[in-house]
Every structure is written in structure tokens, then in C-alpha cells.
Symmetry: C2
Subunit: 436 residues, 2 copies
Amino acid sequence: MDPVKVGLLGLGTVGGGTAIVLKRNAEEIARRAGRGIVIDYAANLDLSRAEELGLGNVRLTQDAFDVVNDPDIQIVVELIGGYTVARDLVLQAINNGKHVVTANKALIALHGNEIFAAAQAKGVMVAFEAAVAGGIPVIKAVREGLAANRIEWLAGIINGTSNFILTEMRDKGRSFGDVLSEAQALGYAEADPTFDVEGIDAGHKLTILSSIAFGIPLQFKQTYTEGISKITAEDVSYAAELGYRIKLLGIARRTDAGIEQRVHPTLIPQRRLIANVDGVMNAVLVKGDAVGATLYYGAGAGAEPTASAVIADLVDITRALTADPENRVPHLAFQPSQLEDTAILPIDEVETAFYLRMCALDRPGVLADVTRIMGERQISIEAFIQKEPTSGVDKVDIIMLTQRVREGNMNEAIAAIEALETICSSVTRIRVETLG
Amino acid sequence: MDPVKVGLLGLGTVGGGTAIVLKRNAEEIARRAGRGIVIDYAANLDLSRAEELGLGNVRLTQDAFDVVNDPDIQIVVELIGGYTVARDLVLQAINNGKHVVTANKALIALHGNEIFAAAQAKGVMVAFEAAVAGGIPVIKAVREGLAANRIEWLAGIINGTSNFILTEMRDKGRSFGDVLSEAQALGYAEADPTFDVEGIDAGHKLTILSSIAFGIPLQFKQTYTEGISKITAEDVSYAAELGYRIKLLGIARRTDAGIEQRVHPTLIPQRRLIANVDGVMNAVLVKGDAVGATLYYGAGAGAEPTASAVIADLVDITRALTADPENRVPHLAFQPSQLEDTAILPIDEVETAFYLRMCALDRPGVLADVTRIMGERQISIEAFIQKEPTSGVDKVDIIMLTQRVREGNMNEAIAAIEALETICSSVTRIRVETLG
């Protein structure tokens, strides 16, 4: 059987990795897929990159639309990133009847609904395993492996940069800014780190995971995102003292009121497996009603790990090329006509436990005021530490763990606490998940 | 579209779980699969069980062959276990042109080659996700999710009973026999625990994982199995002192000389994620050349976790029912014609590091004798502990960690050490894997 002809858009980190692995493991991949998979045409602004990668027999162009419009190409692999040109290229490829593989989480999170509708109309496949958690086959696990389950919730460490920073802060007692600078020097963080450290990148990935878990359309605009830039070395150390680690988690949960879809720093009991996922590694914990909790762990980024997911998608499409469109694995795990309109919960409606830290004047009655404010809003305190002055003379640090409470109530309580004259700082607030 | 009609053989733990989950999540499953999946006919010796499970509309029989020969049944789910009648039933189902789903690891490990050949000749699918690590979709991950990779090795905690026993021994300092009795009382271990604690069950599962990782035929007879029944509370405690945990691991590794395929107790550095997989939970660590290390964790047994995997297979088959046989995911990840004849290494040829424990008379020169024996066989010692007498007056316990060495050399050295007059016990030997 003739090999499948692939058009590759972008020869950057992931594009290069894809070309290298497809070539190195060509025989192994063909043994699995039943036929060869070859790059026939590639687009990159800098054509000298093709020589670096040893793409000797591959046709080359600087205009990605040449590839998308080429009649010989059966599958287009979009590895350009961004969501303006990438969207146009993907829609044009679909319009030309080509299957598409992409690693572009922003594109899928923001324009996936439009892209999948176009793909369904044309009877082509769009695959995006590489868009979430790099090389970990977590899309496949949720979409196919857990197909028997009503998914209850999932929680993921899905941004390697943030996890690297938090791990270094914990291991070495360093500050956020200090570790960020090092991560930038090591290439783990971009020059503009906003997407990574403020939870946007994790928000894109969580949006995709939530859709395939619950069978809802992609709704990035409804996803709550809060990053790690305000986490201090003290928070990390106090959390440890309480038996917790701080992780940037993406959490999607089904509740009677709607879907929770939120990214924020989170304390996790250190005995949980996922609390021990360190450095740039990713992991996603998925709770199904039948299977219970399952966890998927691996490299969430990098040239070859991401290429591993891109090529797995190429193999899936190659295997399915003669299958009837209705019987292919649907993009969002559920049939397009079966997507549900379940609401995504505003963050104020979400219930979690909280870790709170505040600075107070060392005077009688302060604690009584704070606990009265909490009590009035039905917030129970689970654990409490008062620390010797670190914030100055006659001041103390108060650290609390609360029981689960609606976030709106917690915010009211925090506002009331901050209004007390005896409280000398804003209240630091980190959500707690036991993942039990 | 009409629902797919399933024939269920066996209404025991997993059969019952499958019936319950298929019913409870019927709507969710149909949303994913594109059509309903219903149990139309079920076989069980005790028909009253069907009432317990609320199988009101299901046709029932005591003769499983009635189901296998019924013209209305499209997929047969074999949950009887064992490998005599189960083999006949599965082959008959295939011969009748029916697709098959099974959770039967022994059947696949021992008769899989014959069964898959029959299925290929008939153009039907045989799916067995539930046969390895229960609800964890690890077959799918290795077979599809990591299809881009040359798999280098995998290592799994794939027997929950053994892992429960080892975890209890560590946490509470209890003996093997003591914990085994409790596990039997709790239903985690069978009345005859041989399959679980002697590594046979893990060997069946490892045989399957090794085949799909490397594209080789199933070869249970070549799988080395050693269980945990000789592990003592002291071993567990000494291992901890050295920074290790003892786990029953199934390990498959590709080497230039052949495939290592072995199940045995193994020390793992306690900082590894897999070292922290405790109780009855399972986990499989897979190392691919592109993706690096990935880990899959979850419940390895139980009614609903196993049903989760059985039903995922039913969904896959339902989705693929109109696909061309050549383009389906092949049973062993590689096309049948592409299976390779790579040899499986005898255990003597395998290289690992070792933990050794022995009792010695407390006399000058004993240690010199032992180290001379090791040195003569090029075995380097990495760490060494001498413990105060616990074995009696004038005796000491000697514990060592070695560097990596061919197992054959180690066995020679152990024989020579045991022949020393100053050594008062046989040498306890546990392999060490850093999983780096």
C-alpha cells in the first residue's frame, strides 16, 4: 500500500521533532499503522531549517497555503501556533478535504467548535492529542479509554513552566521572581511568561479536557484562570508545614449547578501521587464513576514528546482512512449532535476549602474578630497556625485552613477581614483540593 | 441506528459490574458510541444472579454456547475466566463471525496467538483492555497513544494483591504471612493465593504488555516469574533505610541480546513516582524513545474498574463496526504479518543491580571472603550495612547494594558465598531498578 502523504506546516521545535521521529522510527511506525507515513511537502519561512533536519526528498515552500492546497497531500499537520493564520490554514485544509493534526491548544480552545463543524461537514478528521499535556495520551484515555464512565472530575498539572517554578520554590526556598528568571534562562519559560505563569496556557488545555470529559462545547471564555505570580516562598513553606504542596491545577468538575472549569494555585495533600509530580512534568488525574481515579503522567512539552502525540494522531488517521466518518472516534468524545448545553459555573459558585494567610497586629481580640466574620458566613476553620513575628514588631502571621465553602462567601469574608484595623495586610488565599 | 447486541458470558464480579455500568451509564455511553450498546443474552450457571442484577429484559441461559451460537449476538463478552472452556467459547464465537471482548489475561497470554490468528481469518476483532491493569487504559496507551515510539522498556505494578501485601508490610512492619491472611479475609487475596503472590498473574499481564510494546508474539512460557512470599519484614525495613521500596514489578526491556520479560520483587528508589503507588492500586511506567517516561495509574481490579475497560472495548468495536478489517487497530499494536521473532532473554542474561542480605558469624575475615568472591566476578559493591545481632549471639546481618551485574554472575557469587563456613544462612537477593 502506498505511504500516506503528509504536509507539514512549521519546522520549529515540534515540527522538527516530528520530522526526526517520523524518519528515525519509520519502520516501527509502518509496522503499527499498516503503511508508511511520509512528509511529502513542508512549509517554513526559513528554508535552511529543512537541510538541518535532513529533509532531502521533501518538497519545500515558504507559503503554507501551497501545502494546504496541494492535491497530493492527504493529512495536514499544523505546527505554526497562534490563532489567526493557523485558523485560516486549518479551515482551508478541511475545505480541501484533508485531514488535520494540530498541537495548537489555543486554536482548539478558541476556534475548535467552528473547526469541528467544518470537519464534520466535509467528513474529515481533526486530531489534537499534542494540544494537551504533550506526549501523554490523555485525550485518547479520556475520549476512548474511559468511554464507559460518567466523568465526575479531572485535575491536571498541565503547564510545565509553572510546575518547574513551584518545584524550585519548594526545594530551594527561592522566590517566584528569582526562579522565573532562571526558567527563562533555561528556556523553560518564554521572554513574556504571561501565558504560562498566569494560567492562560493551562486554561486552554483545561477547556479542551473539560469538553471531552463532559461532552460540552469548547468554552474558553468561561474558564476561570489565576496564575502563580503571587505565590510567595512563605506560602510554599507554610503549606509544607501543614502537609500540603502547592500546584497550579486545572480543575473541571461536574456539579448539579453546572460545570466547574478553573485554573488556579491549589494546595494538595503531599501524600497524593499527583502532589509528587515535580519539575516540568505534567499529570492529569481523572475520576470516573466506574473506574475511580486514574492518573496519566509524562512530559508535557518538548520536541520529541510532543512529536510522539502528533505522530500517534497520524497513525490513528492512517488506520481509519477507509472507515466510515460516522464511526470514527468523535473529536470531543461524544457525537457532535449529542453535545450538551450544561452551564459552566462562575468561580463564585464553586466550593473548595481554603488556605488563608494574613498579617495581624499582636493584640487581644484580633482572632475573635476574624473568627466571628468567618462564623457569620458559615465558614468552619479546620486548622490554625499563629507564627512568631516575621512581618515586623508587634505583628503576627495567622495561617488557617478552612472547610469547604462557596467561593463567593469566602470573598465576602476576606473583604470584611481586610477591613479590620488590626489586619495589616491583604489576605492571601489559596484553594485546597484533597483529590480524595 | 439499532443498538449493538451483546452476549455476556458470566455474571460474576466483572460480569455483574459490566451489566450495572452499561445500564447506569447507557445514555452517556450511547452519546459517545453513536448508538446504544445492550446486553441481549446472558449465560450464567446460577440464573437467580440475573434477577439480582436487574437484567429484566435479557434472555438467559445456563449454557454459554447458546449465546455464542445465537445469530442475533454481534459481540460476545467472555468473563468466565480460566482457559479451557473460555478458549472453546471464544474460538467458537470467532468462528461464528462475532467480535469478542475478554478480561481473561490467562487466556490471552496462553492462547492469544491462536485466537488472534482465528480472528484475523474471520475479519473480527478481539479486544482485551480489561486483561491488564483493570480499568487503566494502558493497552490503548501503548498500542495507540505511543505508536510513534520505539518502546525501550516498561515496568508495572500489575498485581494488586501483592502490592497490598507489600504496602502493609512496610507501613506496619508486619510479616508476609500475617498480611496475606488479612488480605484473604478482606477478599483481596484468593484462598489459593499462588497466582497472585508467586507472580503468575503478573506474568500473564506482562506477557501481553511486552507483546504490544515490542511487536512480538505472546510467549508466557519464556516469562520469568518470582513472587513475594520470601520477602521478610526486615528486607522491607532495610530497603527503606537505604532509600528504597520493594515492589513486585513486571519488567519488559528491549536489549541487543533479546527481550527481558521478568516478574520479581524489586527495590525502587522511594523518590520515583511508581514507588509511591500503594495498596491495591496498579501503575505501569512506559519508556518510549520519543516521549520519554510516561506512567498510567489506577485501580487494577474490582467489578466496576474492570467493567470500565470491558465497556471501553465495546465502544471501540461499536465505533469500528463498519470499518475495513485492515484498518482497525491491530490486536498486538503491530500488523499480524509484522510480528517479529526477537528472542526473549533468559533471566541469567539479564543485568540488574542487587540488594543482598545474609547472616554471618561475627569473626574477622568474613567480609574479606565475601568481597573477594564478589570481586572475582567483577561485582562492585555500592552500599553496605552491618547490623547488630538479630539472628542470635555472635552473628551479624550483612546488607549490600551492588552495581549492575549479569544475573548469572550474581548467582555464581551467591553460591560461593553460601558455601563459606562463616555464612550462617542462605543469601536473600532482591533486584534493584532505578527506573531512571
